[in-house]
């Protein structure tokens, strides 16, 4: 009877989760949907407490309280710029929970002599993927937080080494299925999983982290699916599948936006060799500087302005200055939009969150595909701290390392003003022809300072 009740409440929770994801299709419904998901979670957890296997509540309460105490600051105090690290960190948490449950279940079934082949297949898979995700996510966290060097770390024969290590892990898994009671191969799977996680992320550079974080999301989901198979728990299977699908879709979207295949991100170690090639095909011509008051006048007397924010905007913490400038321009009747490239931030959709935090209404944030035709009747495109995502070489120069990457058609607009810190090349070390185009004027300086100056001058104009 209790068992039926628990299963039915899981069913309800799963339904609420799917509805919550559906409500995320629109910003207006998203928040209510997530409240529904939270209720679903509450129902599922409350019902689980009635489970007949649970006999003591002390440890469980200790764990729950500690978790809540850790979770609160992770929810309320983490700044939006640190979202990618934070997400990577909680992937590590989720995967650790799955791994520990896997180990615990193995010990339990070992003691009670209940190990079957199907059971160890699921447990081994869970622990392998879980352990891999734990260390992989911690590595990604370290790189994003800049505790670890962001540059790709490579050595000779790396891919062969990593793949063979992973193959040994899979071989151990097969061995474990044949001999379910061989504890050492179970331990070996754990250790190999942990090592593969580290080695997998080691050669991946900071710029590729969005793909990695999404991919780890997907692995964490698959580990949860394996837990569900091992424990005969359908809600874990459902949620793990949702999570896995989400991570998979996002990593595909990110790879596409960078014009790189999955395998290229994972095995390519981009950025180690690209810098040198690019320097050779450097842009010719001089950049034309512009003063802040001239730039402000041009903005103030235009009809349509598109702002192209890049990660430089977030680094300079200039979102609020950007919004003030937008408010001033709109007061003068200028139509202002933001053009958001999919990889503008450090994770999928990051730039939207940063701008929304500054109080910019989401209907002004336009995706790349929707805004690209609008550049032709735009008077001024204001590029703030973005570089590669507006580089015309991605379209024209076949030898460029970023050739083929979808970009924002900034050069179609009538004039371009670029806010840039210095004259150097961008994050990926690629020169940008846009900066030397006759349409373009450069306003050098810190993004925050420049935007403030522009705002002050627009006020006077």
């Amino acid at each position: 009877m209790t068992e039926t009740f628990i299963q039915l409440s899981y069913l309800l929770a799963a339904g609420l989760f799917v509805l919550a994801l559906r409500s995320l299709c629109h910003p207006d419904t998203a928040r209510r949907g997530m409240h529904m998901a939270a209720i679903g979670m509450l129902i599922a957890v409350a019902a689980t407490l009635l489970h007949q296997r649970i006999v003591t509540y002390e440890w469980l309460a200790v764990g729950a309280v500690v978790g809540a105490v850790i979770g609160y600051p992770l929810g309320m105090w983490v700044p939006m710029t640190a979202m990618p690290q934070r997400i990577a960190f909680s992937h590590a948490f989720g995967a650790l929970a799955a791994t520990l449950v896997g180990i615990g279940e193995y010990i339990h079934s070992y003691d009670t002599q209940h190990l079957t082949q199907g059971h160890v297949l699921a447990l081994g898979f869970e622990v392998l993927l879980g352990a891999l995700t734990v260390t992989g996510s911690l590595m990604a966290f370290g790189k994003l937080q800049e505790i670890l060097p962001g540059r790709p770390v490579t050595f000779r024969g790396q891919n062969v080494f990593n793949l063979s290590l992973f193959a040994i892990g899979v071989a151990c898994l097969v061995w474990l299925i044949v001999n379910p009671y061989d504890v050492w191969s179970f331990v070996a799977i754990c250790v190999i999983g942990l090592l593969v996680g580290i080695l997998l992320v080691l050669p991946i550079g900071g710029a590729d982290m969005p793909v990695v974080v999404s991919l780890l999301n997907s692995y964490a989901g698959l580990a949860a699916v394996a837990t569900g198979f091992a424990l005969d728990n359908n809600i874990l299977i459902v949620v793990g599948a949702l999570d896995g699908a989400s991570g998979f879709i996002l990593s595909i979207a990110m790879s596409k936006a960078m014009n790189r295949s999955f395998s290229n991100v994972l095995f390519g170690a981009f950025g180690s060799a690209a810098g040198e090639e690019a320097a050779v095909s450097g842009a010719k011509g001089d950049m034309a500087p512009i003063s802040a008051d001239d730039a402000a006048l041009r903005l103030a007397f235009s009809r349509r302005v598109i702002i192209v924010p890049g990660y430089g905007l977030a680094v300079a913490q200039a979102q609020h200055q950007a919004r003030e400038l937008v408010d001033l321009l709109e007061k003068r009747g200028v139509d202002v939009r933001f053009a958001i490239h999919p990889v503008a931030g450090r994770m999928p959709g990051h730039m939207n969150v940063l701008l929304a935090e500054a109080g910019i209404s989401y209907d002004k944030l336009v995706d790349m595909e929707d805004i690209n035709q609008r550049f032709t009747d735009t008077d001024v495109a204001l590029v703030v701290g973005a570089n590669d995502v507006v580089n015309p070489a991605a379209r024209t120069n076949k030898s460029s390392p970023i050739y083929g990457m979808p970009i924002l058609n900034v050069s179609d607009s009538k004039s371009v003003i670029v806010l840039k810190r210095g004259k150097g090349a961008g994050f990926s070390g690629v020169e940008n022809d846009l900066f030397v185009s006759p349409k373009t004027s450069m306003l050098f300086g810190d993004a925050k300072q420049s935007l403030m100056q522009l705002g002050a001058e627009v006020k006077l104009a």
Binding site: A13, A20, L21, L24, C25, P27, A30, M34, A37, A38, M41, V45, T48, R53, V55, T56, Y57, W59, L60, G63, G67, I70, G71, Y72, L74, G75, M76, I87, S90, L96, A97, L100, I103, G104, G221, A224, V225, T227, F229, N234, L236, V238, V239, G240, A241, L242, D243, G244, A245, S246, F248, A253, M347, P348, G349, H350, N352, E357, G359, D367
Partner: protein
Amino acid sequence: MTSTAIIQLFVFLLAGFVGFQTISRIPPLLHTPLMAATNAISGISLVASLVLAGANQGFVSTVLGAVAVACAMANVVGGFLITDRMLAMFGAKAANKGERKGADRQ
């Protein structure tokens, strides 16, 4: 293969399909909240951890379970809070006020 395993494979297949269809419709605008949301929801592994921590199967299992409960709980609490915080910023036109926290007041 047992019939439970077969049913579970069906559940996995269908849930994966539903997930794929639902999530591919979510606009890039909300991709970061989506990641935070799946993170919070994946804290459902809490239900497995709770059973392990409370089943009294010996000290090691109980401690492993308690740590797992803490990890999953941190994801649930932190995940739902941060998703809500983000979605509040995308809330209706209140955004123009430039308020960070009180965006839902209007």
